[in-house]
């Protein structure tokens, strides 16, 4: 299972506490994780990436294994530690972005 950590606002929206565990079929990539996440929690559609372009929202970042993966290809394989569940995939709301 893939472990995903959501920012507090999205945990509230999805009505979850703590980490989310999701199954991902096939290669584990950012796109595959987000597809699986949105399928299980449809209310998250549009909050992490744009509905149409599927681009990451500007004030959302992706981290794993202490690396910023935000600018990696959404189809690039994620680290083995994320695939094995040893490390979570982090969806992070930027410190900037609010008013």
């Amino acid at each position: 299972m893939i472990r995903v950590v959501l920012p507090a606002h999205l945990r509230t929206l999805a009505q979850v506490t703590g980490e989310v565990e999701i199954a991902v079929a096939g290669p584990v990539t950012q796109r595959a994780i987000l597809d699986a996440l949105e399928a299980r929690y449809p209310m998250l559609q549009g909050t992490i990436r744009d509905h149409v372009t599927q681009q990451r929202r500007a004030f959302v970042r992706f981290f794993a294994c202490q690396e910023d993966l935000s600018h990696e290809s959404p189809d690039a394989p994620l680290p083995d530690a994320v695939v094995s569940g040893a490390e979570p995939f982090l969806v992070v709301g930027a410190i900037a972005g609010g008013k």
């Binding site: 920012p7 929206l13 549009g46």
Partner: protein, 376 residues
């Protein structure tokens, strides 16, 4: 005994304020959606327990929430606002072409006859509609596709479609307003639109009498006389006797602001007196707080031109808040209630048509919108 429910959208959450018909003691619930910008919360006139809320943030974009129990519980519904076809461009602040980009929902207007039908005014300016209670949204592309659309420029707050008025007597008639394009009317349910800005004069644009380009801040109508419209423009308060075909300035004795009059954001109409209207004059262009540090609602009982300041219970020294365009509402109790919220987080209420005011709450986040429901 009748009750009222005041729906307050703020910069950091929504609040619901309830009282009996005396409107003296208030129960306050919230924040709902704490930390999110709540641009607008409004109930269905057909089913008052059906509420819709526009929730957005700089991080996570737009959500729409729906309640079926008067705001006790909420469920997120569809948040996919996709422009019809290839969106094209409008003008940016500097006059260059700028792609149409969805940013947020400014205003939700539930249908007068169907609780599942709601209109949404969005930035960049367009009109969307759901007919299934928010499960899906479709653009009414004739609005954005009005022939002048490529020339629209944003106001300081963005290119927002912020006002939607549904005509209670002619079901296919809809009025909308956009900053800074102007006012438009559809007589065919939103399929086609006509610019209704004749009589507006805006010295800050190259052609002050242009068909579009006017920064209309808000409009209001009394349901018994849907052909009579009132408008709060960037400068000037105006009225139209013919559904917007022609407007006349009715600034009258509103406060002088370096030779100009009538700047403000809100405008609304008394529930039982169609010629009694309310505005809150604000200093402009950059200051955006009340004249002389005195928070005054101005009331005209003659449909404009003759105005009286209403001050009892409102701060008359050192007050530098703003009252934003969707932040005034009117209840329909026999003694008409008037409500408005400020960027300082106060919500003021008057249970006697504006003669005396009291704060319902004083310390909310900046208020973006106020609506009121009169409940049996």
């Amino acid at each position: 005994m009748s009750r009222v429910r005041v729906l307050v959208g703020t910069r950091k959450g929504a609040f619901i304020l309830e009282s009996d018909g005396k409107r003296e003691k208030w129960d306050i619930s919230g924040p709902h959606f704490a930390g999110w910008e709540m641009y607008h919360v409004k109930g269905s006139p057909v089913d008052p327990n059906r509420l819709y809320a526009s929730q957005c943030s700089g991080w996570f974009g737009q959500l729409i929430q729906r309640s079926n129990d008067g705001g006790k519980t909420w469920e997120p519904v569809d948040n996919k606002f996709v422009y019809d076809g290839v969106p094209g461009t409008h003008k940016w602040y500097d006059g260059t072409p700028h792609p149409w980009e969805f940013k947020r929902v400014w205003h939700l207007e539930p249908s007068l006859t169907d609780p599942d039908t709601v209109y949404a005014g969005v930035e960049d300016a367009a009109l969307f509609r759901t007919v299934d209670g928010g499960k899906s949204w479709q653009e009414l592309p004739g609005m954005r596709g009005h022939g002048t659309g490529s020339g629209w420029q944003p106001g300081a707050g963005g290119l927002g479609l912020h006002t939607i008025i549904l005509d209670p007597k002619e079901p296919k008639r809809i009025f909308i307003a956009i900053s800074a394009a102007g006012a438009f009317r559809s007589d065919d349910g939103g399929a086609t639109w006509k610019a209704i800005n004749r009589g507006l004069r805006s010295e800050y644009i190259p052609d002050p009498d242009a068909e579009v380009g006017h920064c209309v801040h808000h409009m209001a109508m009394h349901p018994s006389r849907p052909g009579v419209l009132f408008m709060q423009k960037h400068w000037d308060v105006l009225r139209s006797e013919n559904a917007g075909d022609l407007w006349k300035e009715v600034n009258g004795n509103l406060p002088d602001d370096t030779g100009k009059r009538g700047f403000g954001f809100v405008i609304d109409v008394h529930a039982h007196e169609p010629e009694t209207i309310y505005v809150v004059p604000i200093k402009s262009d950059s200051q955006h707080f009340p004249h002389e540090g005195k928070l005054r609602v101005y009331r005209s009982k003659t449909g404009g031109n003759e105005w009286e300041p209403l001050t009892k219970g409102l701060p008359q020294t050192d007050c530098y808040v703003n009252v934003l365009r969707d932040a005034m509402a009117i209840d329909s109790l026999d003694s008409c209630g008037v409500y408005f919220g400020t960027t300082g987080g106060q919500v003021y209420a008057s249970a006697d048509g504006g003669d005396r005011w009291n704060p319902i709450v004083r310390d909310l986040p900046a208020v973006l919108s106020v609506e009121v429901q009169t409940l049996a």
